[in-house]
Symmetry: C2
Subunit: 423 residues, 2 copies
């Protein structure tokens, strides 16, 4: 017997699970389209070079990478943003900016599995490219929150934790951390929740930070309001004003309740340059549901012109766990207008023909050729969610009649085949 | 500058190309659902062991395979049927047969690229599992042809070439080929169109066939009607009767014109056991559009109980080329109810707020924050396919009014913001 399990860390989607995935994707896709975003896609296979970065991004060590039969160094994409950058740079002259694009790619990371973390997941990516300033933030975050509303979530269930890399930069400057260490230090700071204080201090020490500097940073990270940080930084820090303006605009479009300042949000990817945010459940029992931010220098880092950009990635695993915990997952069944049921070989050709005629009318029709007894056949018709059954009984069919049964009402009527097809 | 091209043999889907792909997938998905099929999916990463077979299947040499960081031998799936078999065997006791399942997986094969052949493609897989006899063939082939009709194709454009492995077995028996050579000989015969007669004879020679045997087989393969084969085989060959009955049923459901017998259809995969078919364009200028057949022993080969099964794989590459050649590709644009346009910074917050209010009504709304001049802004509104534009002019907005423009009619009207939102 072959191994029947999926590859460790990957998932099978039987029809019931796939219906749920489609439900989620339909919300993502529908929301994105409602906000005027267009969908793109690319192959899950990319050149490994796309993911080789400085600053110790975790993902570089978590790649599914290999040589193809032509000696090319390839990787399964761990995230979509580098692919998005590649697509944009490839047609930079022909594309009309700003672009509002989204995608629902599958992404792979080889990492230790915990609750809400597998080795593959699908991820709604939504990005605005070529639009500077806060409006792109507002449009992106609004689309995110609109999708949450469509799932039945409220601001009581989840919270968008908002921060700005420029604010963190100001904090590091205040702590006397030299600029060339800012990026690697932020990547370490992002691990703050996952590793202990000692390990964090050791890692920051490796980046040349003194104990005093680490404590100074910790003081900032313990501050819970933007007011407090503003006062501690003193004077006008532009990042503070930006964050205030963004929160003001998010309030104006009706999403103020969903959003709060959180100086501990860093995000692990080295390419963020401004706004960063994470969506978390209020009880904080799960990993971040969604994360994103502004990455104005990614395109130029890849060799193109600088283009402002902001976006997020929203995975399918954690949100489905949260919705399950909250009892918000929908009950999704199959949906059939008719099941056509012959009871012996003699009626099989007529059943095929009738099914096809009903389908030509645009109806969803299954036919049951198992030649079961009536009771068992009707039981199965219920199980597969058929609204009506058409019973092809030998005597009735002989007279050109069929029996149509309403499965919910348990009502049957005899009707001439021709009249039935005219209905 | 990084390499901006997709990995060789893979494709990028910019919005225009993805709209086309969605159009095709929607036809596949819609047809399958209309026929009562349920969708499943699995990860593109599988254990390599799933594809290691006897009989020299081409795909084994064309795998994208590698070791993961845990030393597992993995492959990107080259086809979906082994995954389907794995899913069924995993829940064989719990599943209710017959199953009518479909999927639209991406599949990978490392091979030489020619027209209509890339290294990845999406493939509509539709299968009936646990239903013996011709009804499963009729349902499967009917769904296939219904999808072609939905694409605008007719029996003038394409033809379903129908054969049966059992008929080929009878031919090989007649030519005196020992049974243990049947499978590898069929895999070689499948290459008949691609390689020359000499190379074919050499490959068949390797399987122990004499020149006389090869010529005997060639005589059969040159026969163009089932009648002729029937006469040459003499007596009652069961496979002939099965093929006749199947064609009769396909005629009865209205698809007789689309289907014809073709003894040269073999299919390259070693697991087929009965009916085999290929869809080809009438001018035969392209590769096979779709191929499938009955594989009653695959599940038992994987270690499960024997379960009858039939299905097909229908790739996205060749069909889109054919539809393009025939001028049958649809013109697909974006679809926006409104684009909201502010003309200076002062109106931006109002534009964000208005956009969000319109979206809450279920409308599809983009907002253009580029602060262009009126003429240029309207030009872009046309380009992105907006039906109406809402212009936020400073003076009008001051008075609580907006200007709504019907883009097609080029008609504008001034209306109070509140009244507009009530519409």
């Amino acid at each position: 017997m072959i191994d029947l399990k999926p590859v460790r860390g990957t998932r099978d989607f039987y029809p019931a699970e796939l219906r749920l995935r489609h439900w989620l994707f339909d919300i993502w896709r529908g929301t994105a389209r409602q906000f005027g975003f267009e969908e793109y896609d690319a192959c899950v296979l990319e050149s490994e070079a796309l993911y080789v970065r400085k600053a110790g991004d975790e993902i570089t060590g978590q790649l599914y990478n290999f040589d193809d039969k032509g000696g090319r160094r390839l990787a399964l994409r761990p995230e979509m943003t580098p692919t998005l950058a590649r697509l944009i740079l490839q047609r930079q002259r022909a594309l009309q900016f700003p672009l509002k694009w989204f995608s629902i790619p599958q992404c792979f990371r080889y990492e230790r599995m915990t609750r809400g973390r597998k080795r593959e997941h699908y991820q709604w990516n939504l990005d605005v490219i070529g639009q500077p300033g806060n409006v792109a933030e507002v449009e992106t975050i609004s689309a995110l929150i609109a999708s949450l509303e469509a799932m039945g979530l409220t601001a009581e269930h989840v919270r968008l934790h908002l921060n700005d890399r420029r604010l963190l930069t100001a904090v590091l400057e205040r702590a006397g951390v030299p600029e060339e260490h800012h990026l690697p230090v932020m990547v370490v700071m992002d691990k703050r929740d996952k590793i202990g204080g000692e390990q964090l201090e050791a890692l920051l020490g490796e980046q040349g930070l003194s104990g005093t500097q680490v404590r100074r940073i910790d003081e900032f990270l313990a501050m819970s309001s933007l007011e407090e940080v503003k006062t501690a930084l003193g004077g006008d820090t532009p990042a503070v004003a930006e964050l205030e303006a963004l929160q003001e605009l998010l309030g104006r479009v009706g999403f103020g309740d969903w959003v709060g300042f959180d100086i501990t949000v860093v995000r692990g990817l080295s390419y963020y340059t401004g706004t960063v945010f994470e969506l978390r459940d209020r009880s904080a029992s799960l990993r971040a549901i969604c994360g994103g931010g502004r990455y104005d220098s990614l395109l130029s880092a890849f060799g193109g012109d600088p283009i402002p950009a902001i976006g997020f990635g929203f995975g399918d695993v954690v949100i489905l766990e949260l919705l399950g915990d909250l009892g918000l997952l929908p009950q999704l069944g199959t949906d059939l207008d008719y099941v056509v049921i012959p009871f012996s070989e003699a009626q099989v050709p007529a059943a095929l023909e009738l099914s096809q005629k009903l389908r030509r009318k645009g109806l969803r029709v299954d036919a049951d050729f198992a030649l079961r007894k009536l009771k068992r056949a009707l039981q199965r018709a219920s199980e597969i969610g058929a609204r009506r059954a058409v019973l092809l009984m030998p005597d009735e069919l002989e007279r050109g009649e069929v029996v149509v049964r309403d499965m919910a009402k348990r009502e049957e009527r005899r009707v001439a085949m021709e009249a039935f097809l005219e209905e």
